[in-house]
C-alpha cells in the first residue's frame, strides 16, 4: 500500500487544470497535443496497437466526450426557448456539451493507496499524481480505483499511463518560459484550458473558478479533485427577452411608400 503525502508534508500548491465547458468546441486538439508530447516525453511512449487495422486502439491521457443535455422537464415552464413543438418534432431544444477528461490530480486520490508497489504516487511539492513506471507492474488496480476512469493501460509497455500535467514541460528549463505549461493548454484553440495553482486563492485560475462558478467533478465521490470545470453559460435566452427586444423592431413603415416617406423625413434631419 502506498501513502498519500501527509498534510504536513504538502506544500499547499495544487497544480491543476481549469476547463471551460462554455468555450470547448470539442475539437480534440488537446487530445492530440497530449498524445504527441507524451509519446516522446515522460515514461514509455503512448503506443497504438493495430494502428492501421481493424480495431485501432492506443493509450491517451486525455479524451473528449460529448453529451447532449436535455432541458429539465421538472424545471417548470420558464421562457420558451427555441422552436415551438410543431417545428422541432415535439422536442424542446437540447444542448450539446463537450467534456474533456483527464486525471484530476485529486487531493485524496484513490488511485494512490491501492497501488501495491508504490508506483502510483502524489507529489508533495505540487500535488501532481504520477506513476513511476519503473515500479509499475501493470496490475490495473489504480485504474479500478479511479472514480473518473482517467487512467489507461498502455497496450505495448504494459504500464499504467495517466496525465502528468506535463511535469516534464512545466519545469523544463530547455523550453522557453512561456511554453512551460501542459501541452493541452498551450495548444487549445478555443482557450478553454487553463493551468495553474488551485491551492493559491489569488492565482489566475482560482480567480477564474471564483468568477465563473467553477465546479469539482462529482465531489460526492470523495476524491477531492483539484481540477475544476467552468459550467456552460445560459443559452437560448433571447426567447425570454421579448420585452427588451421588441422595441428594436417598432415599425416605421409597413409598405414601400411609407418607408420612402420615413427615409425622406429621416434624411431631412441628417
Amino acid at each position: 500500500m502506498t501513502m498519500l503525502p501527509r498534510p504536513e508534508d504538502r506544500s499547499g500548491r495544487k497544480l491543476g487544470l481549469v476547463i471551460d465547458l462554455d468555450t470547448c468546441v470539442g475539437c480534440h486538439a488537446c487530445v492530440i497535443a497530449c498524445k504527441g508530447w507524451n509519446d516522446q516525453a515522460y515514461g514509455a511512449p503512448l503506443s497504438d496497437s493495430d494502428p492501421y487495422g481493424d480495431a485501432p486502439s492506443g493509450s491517451f491521457l486525455n479524451r473528449v466526450h460529448s453529451y447532449e443535455v436535455a432541458p429539465d422537464p421538472q424545471a417548470g415552464p420558464g421562457p420558451p426557448s427555441g422552436p415551438p413543438p410543431d417545428l422541432r418534432g415535439g422536442q424542446t431544444p437540447t444542448r450539446h456539451v463537450h467534456f474533456p477528461k483527464s486525471c484530476l490530480h485529486c487531493d485524496d486520490a484513490p488511485c494512490v493507496p491501492v497501488c501495491p508497489t508504490g508506483a502510483s504516487y502524489k507529489r508533495a511539492e505540487d500535488g501532481i499524481v504520477l506513476v513511476n513506471e519503473d515500479a509499475c507492474i501493470g496490475c490495473g488496480l489504480c485504474a479500478w480505483a479511479c472514480p473518473y476512469g482517467a487512467r489507461e493501460m498502455d497496450p505495448s509497455a504494459g504500464v499504467m499511463k495517466k496525465c502528468t500535467l506535463c511535469v516534464d514541460r512545466i519545469y523544463n528549463e530547455t523550453l522557453p518560459e512561456e511554453d512551460r505549461e501542459p501541452a493541452c493548454v498551450r495548444t487549445c484553440p478555443a482557450k478553454a484550458r487553463h493551468f495553474g495553482d488551485l491551492g493559491d486563492p489569488g492565482s489566475a485560475v482560482s480567480q477564474l473558478v471564483e468568477d465563473r462558478g467553477g465546479v469539482a467533478l462529482m465531489p460526492e465521490l470523495g476524491a477531492a479533485p483539484v481540477n475544476r470545470y467552468l459550467p456552460p453559460r445560459e443559452r437560448d435566452t433571447w426567447a425570454g427577452e421579448t420585452d427588451v427586444l421588441a422595441p428594436w423592431l417598432e415599425p416605421v413603415a409597413e409598405e414601400p411608400q411609407g418607408f420612402l416617406g420615413w427615409l425622406d423625413r429621416t434624411l431631412g434631419k441628417l
Binding site: 501513502m3 468555450t23 468546441v25 470539442g26 475539437c27 480534440h28 486538439a29 487530445v31 492530440i32 498524445k35 504527441g36 508530447w37 509519446d39 516522446q40 516525453a41 503506443s47 497504438d48 496497437s49 494502428p51 492501421y52 487495422g53 485501432p56 492506443g58 447532449e68 422552436p83 417545428l87 422541432r88 418534432g89 415535439g90 422536442q91 431544444p93 437540447t94 450539446h96 456539451v97 507529489r123 508533495a124 515500479a135 511535469v167 516534464d168 519545469y171 530547455t174 495548444t187 484553440p189 478555443a190 482557450k191 478553454a192 443559452r235 437560448d236 433571447w238 426567447a239 421579448t242 427586444l245 423592431l249 416605421v252 413603415a253 409597413e254 420612402l260 427615409l263 434624411l267 441628417l270
Partner: protein, 936 residues
C-alpha cells in the same frame, strides 16, 4: 514514507526547432517542428504566426503521423492491371516524366484542350494555373466549384471579397457574431481563437445551423434552420430591419450603390442598368446640388432618395428597389417560418438583437481618415455585428443568391469593413471589375491568351466556342453557369466521359480524390473512369495523378507522380494566390523541407516545372532549351509575374537594398523567411486599417505595396449589374443569346437584387416522397480523406453513424445499434444510425469522408472506415433526375455551377443490419502494402 522518485524535469526533446507551415488542412497555420537526431519528434503551433498565434488543432498536432504514414507513395508508378485495380509497377522518374511528355507533347502540338488539368486541395494555384496557361489548354481549375465558390463569388461580386482568406470578423470589437452553417471548414484555428475572444469579451454568438455541434454547441443562441432556406431567413431579417428603419443610412449612402440611379422603365432598352455619364461613371443625385453627379466625384453627397427623369425614362435609386422588394409581405416572419423550420418569434428575436447590437452600442475608433471622395472623417464609427459563413449556405443551388442576401444584410447594418463587423484581409478588397475575365482561346503550340479563371461582367465574357458551345470541358463560363469563377471540377469526369462538349485525351489530377469522396455519384464516377469503348480503349484515354498518398484516385491512375509530404517540400502561400493575411496586415508564408524525403518522391510543383521544361513551355525553358528553374524553390524566388511582383512579397530587392512588396528577386529570400519563422507580415497603417474599399490611405498603401495597380475604390454592389446583364440577355436583348431552354432559368435566378428560390432539385423530385434533408459536417479532427491514414486521428473518427433527429428516430422506432436505409432519387445506402436531439426536425447528418475503399490508404480491408464507414456521395448525382424535357440539368447552382451537395433529400427505412455498410465496393490492390501492427 519514502521520498518521491527522482524524475527528469528538463528533458531536452529537440536539437532544433524548424518553423514552417502546416498542411493538415487548408488553414495554413505556423508550426514549430521539433527535431531530434534528424527525426520529427513533436509539432506544436508557432506563437508568432498571424494565423494561429501558437495554438494548433488536432490535425496539426497529428502531422507527425502523416509524415510517417504507411500510405505514403514511395516511387513513380505505372499501371499494370486494369484501371482501378490498384496494380502498378514502380518506375524511375525519368521513365515517368518521359511517359508524361510522350502523352502531352502531341496534345500541345495539335489540340491542347485535350489536356484537362485540375487540382484539388492545391495551395499553389498560382503556379499550377500558370503552367496550364503556358501549356495552352483552356481546361484548368482547382476544386472551388465543388467547395465554396458561391461564397467566394458572391463576396467578390458584392463586397469585393468574402470570408476566410478574403476577410474575417472583427474579433476585437464585435458584440454579436452570426455564424451560418460552419462546422469546421476553413480558418479552423482562427475561428476558435475568435470565438474564445468573443466569449472573453462578453459578446454573443448566434449559430444558424441545422446541427447543434461544434461552434453551434457553444453559441448563445441556436437557430436550427432547415437546409437550403438560409436565404429566406436572411431576407426575412432584412424585411424586419427595413420595416423598423433599423438600417445605417449614412453607410448605405456613402459606401454602397444604394443611391445609384437605375433605369426603372421596363420598356427601356437599358432597363435595370445603371444610369451613367459619358465617361461610364454610375450616377447618383448629389444632395448638395440636387443634380446628378458621378458616384465617386470629389465631395459628392449621394442621396438615397434620388430620382431622375432623363430622355423620358424614369430612374430611381437602388434603395428604392430594395424597399419595394423586401418590404413585401412574402418575407414576413410568419410567411417564411414553416419553410425555414424556425418560429416567427425567433426570426424577430434575431432581427431585434442585430438591431440592438448595431445601433445601441456602436463602436467608434478615434482615428481620423479620408474617404475616396476627399471627405475627411474625424472617427471610424462601426456597427459591432459580424457574420461568418462558408459551405453550409453556399453548397446549394440557391447558394450564390443566399450569400448575396447575407452581404445585403451586412450592408444594411453598416457592418462591412467598419469596426466590430467584417474586415477584409489584403489583397482584398478587390471588386469583380478589378479581377481578370476568363481566358479560353487556345492555339496549338501556343500559351493560352491569359489566365483561365476570372469574373465575367456580362455575356461578352463567357467562354464560348464560335458555335456558342462551351469552350471548356467543365462548361465553366457557359450559359449553364456563367459566373463559375472557380471552374467545375465535379463535372470534368462526367463531361469527359460523355464527350460533351468534346472528348479529351489526358486527365491530369493533383491532390483530388475524385474516385471517392470528392465526387458526386461516386459509383458512376468510378464507372466513367474505367469505362472502355467497343475497341477496348478507355473512354477517358489517359489519367495522370499526383498525390503523396495511396488514395482511391491513385488507384485509378495510369501514371502516378508521387508527391512529398508537407514537411519535405518548398511551397509559397502567396499574395498572388491564397495568402495568410490578417485584416491589419498583408502576410505570406513558405514551407521548406524541414526533413528530407526517405523515398523516391518529388515535390509536385518541381515535377511540373521539370515537365514544363521538357515540353519546352515558354517561361519554363531558356533560349538554349535548358530549364529556367531548377526546382520550385528556384521558381518561388526568381519568378516574376509582373516586373517587381513575385510569389513572395517579403525581402525582395528594392532600390535601396532589401525591400518588401515590389522589388527584384533576392537570391537569399527563402533564408530570410526561414530566419523569420516561415512567414512575412507587412502592417497596414492604423488610419488605413478599416473602411479599406473607400479609404484613401489604404488604397495608396495597397498600391505602393504592389497589391493594386491603381487606387480602386468600389461601392458595395447591392444591385449587381453583371447579373442584370445576363438576365437582360435572357429577356432577348443583345447579340450573345442563351439557348432557349436556359432562358427562363436565367431570367428567374439572375436577379440583380438578392432573392431566394427553392433548391432546384425540388422541381425534379417530389419533396413529399423525400421529406428529409441529409448533410455532412467536417469533423474538427479530420480533413477530407487524409485523416484516415493517421494512426491518431482515426482513433477519434474511425467510425461514424448517421445522426437522426428525435422526430424521425421515434417515427422509425429505432433503438441503439439499429441500421437504416437512406434512399435518394438516385441511389441508396445502408448505414448505422444514432440519435441526436439537437437537430433540425427534418435533417439527418453524418461526418464527411470517413468511409474508405478497401485496400486504400494502407488500411486493412477490415478497417472500420472500409466496413462501417460510408459516403453520402453515393446518394448525390451530378445531374438532376430526368424530367422528360429532353435535357439533363446539372445539380449545381445555375449562376456559378457550385455543386449543390446540401440540396440532397432522402427518405429513410429501418434495415436489418448488413455485415457491412452498403453499397460494398470490391478491394483494390495497395501499391504500398498495409500499415504495420505497431506504430513505429
Amino acid at each position: 514514507m519514502s521520498p518521491d522518485p527522482q524524475i527528469e524535469l528538463s528533458p531536452k526533446i529537440a536539437d532544433e526547432v524548424r518553423k514552417t507551415t502546416c498542411y493538415m488542412c487548408a488553414c495554413r497555420c505556423g508550426i514549430d517542428v521539433h527535431l531530434k537526431d534528424g527525426r520529427v519528434r513533436y509539432i506544436d503551433g508557432n506563437r508568432d504566426h498571424p494565423i494561429n498565434k501558437g495554438v494548433l488543432c488536432a490535425k496539426g498536432a497529428a502531422g507527425i503521423m502523416q509524415v510517417t504514414s504507411p500510405a505514403r507513395l514511395r516511387a513513380p508508378l505505372r499501371r499494370t492491371g486494369p484501371r482501378g485495380s490498384g496494380q502498378f509497377e514502380e518506375i524511375t522518374w525519368d521513365e515517368a516524366l518521359e511517359t508524361a511528355v510522350s502523352w502531352l507533347r502531341p496534345l500541345r502540338d495539335a489540340a491542347p484542350e485535350k489536356l484537362a488539368f485540375f487540382t484539388g486541395r492545391d495551395q499553389s494555384q498560382s503556379v499550377t494555373g500558370w503552367w496550364a496557361q503556358q501549356f495552352g489548354t483552356p481546361n484548368f481549375a482547382s476544386h472551388g466549384g465543388f467547395c465554396s465558390v458561391n461564397m467566394a463569388a458572391a463576396g467578390i461580386y458584392t463586397l469585393g471579397g468574402s470570408f476566410w482568406e478574403f476577410g474575417t470578423p472583427d474579433w476585437e470589437h464585435a458584440k454579436l457574431l452570426m455564424i451560418f452553417g460552419v462546422a469546421e471548414d476553413h480558418d479552423s484555428n482562427p475561428i476558435k481563437l475568435g470565438l474564445a475572444r468573443l466569449k472573453e469579451r462578453g459578446a454573443k454568438v448566434v449559430s444558424v445551423n441545422p446541427v447543434r455541434s461544434g461552434y453551434a454547441a457553444i453559441s448563445d443562441e441556436w437557430v436550427g434552420i432547415t437546409p437550403g432556406t438560409d436565404g429566406l431567413f436572411i431576407l426575412s431579417l432584412v424585411h424586419e430591419l427595413l420595416r423598423a428603419g433599423r438600417i445605417d443610412l449614412e453607410f448605405l449612402g456613402r459606401f454602397s450603390n444604394a443611391p445609384v440611379l437605375i433605369d426603372s422603365d421596363p420598356r427601356s432598352p437599358t432597363h435595370g442598368q445603371f444610369l451613367r455619364d459619358e465617361r461610364g461613371k454610375e450616377l447618383v443625385i448629389d444632395r448638395r446640388t440636387g443634380k446628378a453627379a458621378p458616384w465617386d466625384g470629389e465631395g459628392v453627397e449621394p442621396d438615397l432618395r434620388g430620382r431622375l427623369r432623363r430622355a423620358g425614362v424614369t430612374h430611381v435609386t437602388v434603395m428604392h428597389h430594395i424597399a419595394e422588394r423586401y418590404l413585401s409581405a412574402e418575407y414576413a416572419p410568419e410567411k417564411v417560418a414553416q419553410r425555414c423550420g424556425i418560429p416567427p418569434e425567433q426570426i424577430r428575436h434575431v432581427a431585434a438583437a442585430l438591431a440592438r447590437a448595431a445601433f445601441d452600442e456602436p463602436v467608434v475608433l478615434d482615428r481620423p481618415w479620408t474617404d475616396f471622395r476627399g471627405k475627411r472623417h474625424d472617427t471610424m464609427p462601426g456597427r459591432p455585428v459580424a457574420m461568418h459563413a462558408m459551405r453550409g449556405i453556399s453548397a446549394h443551388a440557391n447558394g450564390f443568391q443566399t450569400c448575396r442576401a447575407l452581404h445585403l444584410l451586412q450592408t444594411l447594418l453598416g457592418a462591412v469593413e467598419t469596426p466590430g463587423s467584417f474586415r477584409f484581409k489584403p489583397p482584398y478588397p478587390k471588386p469583380a471589375s478589378a479581377h481578370p475575365r476568363p481566358h479560353y482561346r487556345h492555339t496549338p503550340g501556343q500559351p493560352l491568351d491569359g489566365p483561365h479563371l476570372g469574373y465575367p461582367l456580362g455575356p461578352e465574357d463567357l467562354a464560348l466556342a464560335e458555335d456558342g458551345s462551351p469552350a471548356r470541358i467543365d462548361k465553366a463560363f457557359s450559359w449553364e453557369n456563367p459566373l463559375s469563377a472557380h471552374g467545375l471540377m465535379h463535372m470534368v469526369i462526367s463531361n469527359a466521359h460523355a464527350g460533351d462538349p468534346y472528348p479529351i485525351d489526358t486527365l491530369f489530377l493533383y491532390m483530388a480524390n475524385m474516385a471517392w469522396n470528392s465526387s458526386m455519384n461516386t459509383r458512376g464516377t468510378i464507372r466513367m473512369l474505367t469505362d472502355a469503348d467497343e475497341d477496348g480503349n478507355y473512354v477517358i484515354p489517359r489519367v495522370i495523378v499526383s498525390d503523396a498518398y495511396s488514395s482511391e484516385m491513385v488507384a485509378h491512375a495510369d501514371l502516378v507522380l508521387p508527391d512529398t509530404t508537407y514537411l519535405e517540400r518548398h511551397d509559397c502561400i502567396s499574395l498572388l494566390d491564397r495568402p495568410i493575411s490578417e485584416p491589419g496586415a498583408a502576410a505570406d508564408a513558405i514551407r521548406w523541407p524541414v526533413i528530407e524525403p526517405d523515398r523516391n518522391v518529388r515535390a509536385f510543383q518541381s515535377v511540373l516545372l521539370d515537365l514544363g521544361a521538357r515540353l519546352g513551355l515558354p517561361g519554363m525553358t531558356d533560349a538554349d532549351g535548358s530549364p529556367t528553374y531548377s526546382d520550385y524553390a528556384d521558381y518561388i524566388v526568381n519568378h516574376e509575374r509582373k516586373p517587381g511582383i513575385g510569389p513572395l512579397a517579403g525581402w525582395r530587392t528594392g532600390t535601396n537594398g532589401i525591400g518588401h512588396g515590389r522589388g527584384t528577386p533576392n537570391a537569399a529570400q527563402l533564408d530570410h523567411y526561414i530566419a523569420a519563422g516561415g512567414f512575412f507580415t507587412a502592417h497596414i497603417p492604423d488610419e488605413a486599417a478599416y473602411y479599406k474599399p473607400w479609404n484613401r490611405a489604404y488604397q495608396d498603401w495597397a498600391m505602393g505595396f504592389g497589391l493594386l495597380d491603381a487606387p480602386s475604390p468600389a461601392l458595395i454592389q447591392l444591385w449587381s449589374e453583371p447579373l442584370r446583364r445576363f438576365q437582360h440577355a435572357a429577356e432577348g436583348h443583345g447579340d450573345r443569346q442563351p439557348p432557349d431552354h436556359l432562358r427562363g432559368r436565367i431570367k428567374a435566378t439572375f436577379d440583380p437584387l438578392p432573392i431566394w428560390y427553392a433548391p432546384l432539385s425540388d422541381a425534379f423530385e417530389d419533396p413529399a416522397e423525400y421529406p428529409i434533408h441529409a448533410i455532412t459536417q467536417r469533423p474538427m479532427a479530420m480533413y477530407h480523406s487524409w485523416g484516415s491514414q493517421n494512426a491518431w486521428l482515426r482513433q477519434i473518427h474511425g467510425q461514424h453513424p448517421m445522426y437522426l433527429p428525435t422526430y424521425w428516430w421515434e417515427r422509425l422506432g429505432l433503438s441503439d445499434g439499429d441500421w437504416i436505409r437512406v434512399i435518394s432519387s438516385h441511389a441508396e445506402i445502408t448505414v448505422p444510425a444514432a440519435h441526436m436531439a439537437a437537430l433540425n426536425k427534418d435533417t439527418i447528418w453524418t461526418w464527411n469522408a470517413i468511409g474508405k475503399r478497401k485496400g486504400t490508404w494502407a488500411l486493412s480491408e477490415g478497417a472500420p472506415e472500409a466496413t462501417k464507414g460510408f459516403l453520402l456521395n453515393h446518394l448525390i448525382h451530378e445531374l438532376l433526375p430526368p424530367r422528360g424535357d429532353g435535357h439533363r440539368w446539372a445539380n449545381s447552382d445555375p449562376i456559378t455551377g457550385q455543386a449543390a451537395w446540401f440540396d440532397l433529400r432522402v427518405r429513410l427505412e429501418r434495415s436489418v443490419p448488413p455485415k457491412e455498410s452498403l453499397p460494398v465496393f470490391g478491394p483494390v490492390a495497395s501499391p504500398v502494402g498495409r500499415g504495420k501492427d505497431r506504430r513505429p
